[in-house]
């Protein structure tokens, strides 16, 4: 096996202990969110009989679908050790552009949707360009574009809700039946996007490079990976995902709402963190984010069914986030 004639058995690291069982288990970061979700479901099922109904799960998914799609983009960005504060505003901008274009301008609805997606995507590219060409920190860049996109949305819509939308804009809010339960097409789209994200991040070279970039950007560059171009690509794809979330929120509410998306940046970051992805980049998983978004959705839904006021739901979400980050930190210190 060895080409050398040397007699010594190993060169580096003779004294490594055999991997312990605990090392072979998935890290808490992967398993924890699922356990938390299961516990939350069990708890609410024991508190109220309405929680377990199929229709209720469908409702939770619908409530989660918009922030769920935003959180896919946020996960990509956070994996690169970045952050995107502009996501909710890019979503609102996209939804206003597509609804105004389809109604006021009388554009073909599909073309209008395309324009809406394009405007969010362009802002995403702008984020990436400012971060890579001008070398500004993501936090500052996206704080800036958050305000710009918000202002553009308000100016263009004159802060008016856009209604009387043509059918194609509402498609993803429609439902089909699975047995007793009504499922929206938007939910299916969200799950499909998660599946694509999971595949790309896990199974392709580009996906692995996203992790490498978040782990050690300089090392990734030295290995010949075009890190700056990748970053621009990631912020751009994130922008497109916010545009898709814009289409979903239009379909769900039936209107183009310029006030939408104001809490989606923090909500999506909450989902990402609850899902076990590290804010320092390079660690985490996209399906964790889905679980994280579901945890928030289940808590809101369950507490509402129990008649708990919404301020308490926010309080509990805050506690959950801190718990999630704390467990993450502790599990890293293990070993």
């Amino acid at each position: 096996m060895a080409s050398s004639s040397s007699t010594s058995s190993t060169v580096v690291g003779t004294a490594i202990p055999a991997p312990r069982i605990i090392d072979r288990l998935p890290p808490i970061g992967t398993l924890g969110p699922l356990v938390a979700l299961a516990v939350a479901c069990a708890f609410f099922a024991s508190q109220t009989s309405r929680f377990l109904a199929g229709q209720n799960f469908s409702l939770i998914l619908q409530q989660v679908m918009v922030v769920g799609v935003v959180a896919i983009g946020q996960t990509l960005v956070i994996l690169t050790a970045g952050i995107d504060l502009s996501c909710g505003m890019l979503m609102a901008l996209g939804s206003i552009v597509m609804t105004k274009f389809a109604t006021d301008l009388g554009l073909d609805p599909y073309l209008a949707i395309g324009c809406g997606l394009l405007s969010s995507t362009a802002f995403g590219y702008l984020n990436g360009a400012l971060i890579t060409f001008v070398k500004l920190p993501p936090f500052i860049v996206t704080l800036g574009t958050l305000n710009i996109a918000f202002a553009v949305t308000q100016i263009y819509s004159q802060s008016q809700t856009v209604s009387d939308l043509p059918d194609p804009l509402l498609f993803f809010g429609r439902t089909f039946r699975v047995g007793e339960t009504e499922v929206t097409y938007g939910t299916v789209l969200m799950l499909a996007l998660y599946a694509v994200g999971w595949f790309v991040l896990r199974e392709t070279a580009v996906g692995r490079h996203v992790y490498a970039l978040g782990n050690n950007a300089e090392a990734t560059r030295l290995m010949g990976i075009p890190t700056q171009r990748m970053l621009r690509g990631i912020y751009t794809v994130a922008g497109l995902l916010y545009g898709i979330a814009g289409l979903l929120i239009v379909a769900r509410t039936g209107v183009g709402d310029p006030q939408a998306g104001q809490t989606d940046n923090l909500d999506s970051i909450t989902a990402v963190v609850l899902g076990g992805t590290s804010l320092f980049g390079g660690r985490g998983a996209i399906l964790g984010t889905l679980v994280g978004a579901l945890i928030v959705g289940v808590f809101r839904n369950g507490l509402t069914l129990m008649g708990v006021a919404s301020v308490y739901q926010i309080l509990i979400t805050g506690i959950l986030v801190i718990l999630a980050v704390a467990t993450d930190q502790l599990s890293r210190r293990r070993g």
């Binding site: 096996m1 030295l222 290995m223």
Partner: protein
């Protein structure tokens, strides 16, 4: 192994000068008013470990960066296998078979050993799964990583271990193994033992010899004189942005080498057997 090295050293001495693997002539690199390289020459022969030593600021790192494509010299030329090359980036140099182990190790800590070994050079699956969907062949990467690490005798049980769970010496082992796996011409190492304890440092020296014994010449930048004298076939002494001289570790003492390095002794005054 020591016999191979000795045999190679004598064959180098006796045979009519072989074509250098890597050669540089009159390299100049200025940073504003600072001249980091001031007409530096460089010569690497096939199958040797060439140590590069010099005081702080002597231009070692800049020389190494020019040879690995990380710095573009203002003047001078670089020849690979006797042919003129112009590296525009580290990727350029890597494409030509020059691999560098950087001082700060350039690994992704949360990723596993196999992923680090193949970072940027991932293997895809055969058929449309690979060519259309871009799916990685994780199994093949794991098995190739395992056999490669075994052939270098780096004792790590699982290639699925995250690099951050390894000791400093093992991490260095991963970085060296990656370079050795993909280098076709030259492996460059910048201070590979600097951050290691005595035992791990010796393990890495052994690993460097193993790489050389596979026929790959190694450029070793180091401050550690005992390490340099232990493994180097020849020693390039950098001083004031130039090559002061190249010495033969078997014909010169450590203290004399240090004297040349610091300028206390002129290379012209060295006895002929000291020079290489």
């Amino acid at each position: 192994m020591t016999t191979t090295a000795a045999a190679r050293a004598t064959s180098l001495a006796t045979s009519a000068s072989p074509i250098p693997v890597l050669e540089a002539r009159g390299l100049v690199k200025r940073y504003g008013h600072v001249t980091a390289l001031d007409g530096a020459d460089f010569l690497l022969l096939p199958g040797e470990i060439l140590a590069v030593i010099g005081d702080n600021g002597a231009g070692k790192s800049t020389l190494i960066k020019a040879l690995s494509g990380a710095v573009i010299p203002d003047a001078g030329e670089i020849l690979l296998d006797g042919k003129l090359v112009h590296f525009q980036s580290p990727l350029d140099a890597r494409r030509q078979g020059i691999e560098t182990v950087y001082q700060d190790l350039a690994v992704a800590p949360a990723m596993n050993i196999a992923e680090n070994l193949f970072l940027g050079r991932e293997l895809r699956r055969a058929g449309p799964l690979g060519s259309v969907l871009g799916m990685l062949d994780k199994r093949r990467m794991l098995s190739e990583a395992t056999s490669h690490m075994q052939s270098l005798k780096i004792g790590i049980r699982s290639m699925k271990q995250a690099v951050e769970t390894l000791s400093g010496g093992q991490r260095q082992g991963v970085a060296v193994a990656r370079s050795a796996a993909f280098a076709r011409h030259v492996v460059i190492m910048d201070e590979p033992t600097a951050a290691l304890g005595v035992k791990e440092g010796n393990m890495v020296l052994e690993l460097i010899r193993r790489v050389r014994d596979r026929g790959l010449p190694v450029i070793l930048v180091s401050h550690n004189m005992p390490h340099v004298f232990e493994v180097a076939d020849r020693i390039h002494i950098a001083r004031l942005g130039k090559r002061s001289c190249v010495v033969n570790p078997k014909g010169i003492s450590m203290s004399e080498t240090v004297a040349v390095m610091t300028g206390a002794r002129r290379p012209e005054d060295l006895p002929p057997e000291a020079l290489a």
